[in-house]
């Protein structure tokens, strides 16, 4: 198929999502940079793609809101074409010990990290099934592979994302569609800015690479899983963590 592989990346105004959008654009996809609260940086990322000769747009999408998800897909379809690559990157994290963890924070975490990925995947699948081609890449975390004290909701939501990924892989793997997940280790972004220095140190001590990852190092793996070349990779959970979970 000579058709362009339009990509939608959620939470793409900064951090890993932004880097993933730029990497997909360099690989030839028209890219929609989804943002929730920061149109300026999402527009800036889209403009950067345009300046490099690609096609891109910024699109508002709150993955926790079903109507917003539907509207965003409609806009992307009208602006760039049917979505063939979905990157479930939007993420929410609030740390706290289980015994005192607020119910609302639990719900917010699930709504964004898990329900949001489901809503976006469901909406994307109809078109992917019609095209008999699609790539769904979800950004989980090393917290999905091992427990993390103080991250009960985040870790549960990211583990859930792996279940979603594996079940999708089995459901639609016979239709040219793959669903895979990446599990980043510690990456310096807005999300980890507030991480306490002693926690960072402890993390880096058990990471063979001995340093934090960059958004670009995660994006490169996302872009590969989204590529036509990754056609036989399905239901895979790929740690991108400097060896931390090796």
């Amino acid at each position: 198929m000579g058709e362009e592989r339009v990509a939608l990346v959620t939470g793409a105004s900064r951090g890993i999502g932004r880097a993933a959008g730029l990497a997909l654009a360099r690989a030839g996809s028209p890219v929609a940079f989804g943002y929730r609260s920061d149109p300026v940086n999402a527009e800036e990322a889209a403009a950067k793609v345009a300046a490099e000769g690609g096609r891109a747009m910024a699109v508002p999408i709150d993955v926790a809101d079903e109507a917003s998800v539907a509207a965003a897909f409609d806009r992307v379809e009208a602006g760039l074409g049917p979505v063939r690559v979905l990157v479930n990157n939007a993420g929410f994290s609030r740390d706290g010990l289980a015994v005192k963890y607020p119910t609302g924070a639990w719900d917010d975490t699930m709504d964004v990290n898990l329900r949001g990925a489901f809503l976006c995947s469901r909406r994307a699948l109809a078109g992917m099934l019609r095209a008999r081609w699609g790539r769904i890449v979800s950004v989980a975390s090393v917290a999905a592979l091992r427990g993390n004290a103080g991250q009960i909701a985040y870790s549960a939501s990211k583990s859930g994302l792996l279940g979603l990924t594996r079940s999708l892989a089995r459901e639609v793997g016979g239709r040219g569609i793959t669903a895979n997940a990446v599990c980043p280790g510690y990456v310096e972004t807005a999300m980890t800015e507030a991480t306490r220095q002693d926690n960072v140190r402890r993390y880096l001590d058990v990471t063979p690479a001995g340093r934090a990852g960059t958004p670009e190092e995660i994006a490169a793996v996302i872009a590969f899983l989204a590529s036509p070349e990754a056609s036989y990779v399905n239901g895979a959970v790929v740690p991108v963590d400097g060896g931390m979970t090796a």
Partner: protein, 83 residues
């Protein structure tokens, strides 16, 4: 569109979607037993019908659909066409 035309159209979409000759797609044909369609094939067929006829068929309403004739009836109901 009358019922016969509708039936013809639905059958041709189903035949294309399931990649089978249209002669096999009779009103009595059962999706799983006669047409070898699994649940995902059926969902895909419904997506195709939704797109073609501009209707929306929720999952609950798909459940009772076991034969081609029932699929035609469902689309007819959705279109408000009298059977």
């Amino acid at each position: 569109m009358d019922k016969a035309e509708l039936q013809e159209k639905v059958c041709s979409i189903l035949a294309e979607q399931l990649a089978i000759p249209v002669e096999k797609v009779t009103p009595e044909a059962r999706f799983s037993e006669d047409l070898d369609a699994d649940s995902l094939d059926l969902v895909e067929a419904v997506l195709a019908l939704e797109e073609e006829f501009g209707v929306s068929i929720p999952e609950e309403e798909m459940e009772g659909v076991k034969t081609v004739g029932q699929a035609v009836d469902l689309v007819a109901t959705k279109l408000g066409a009298d059977a």
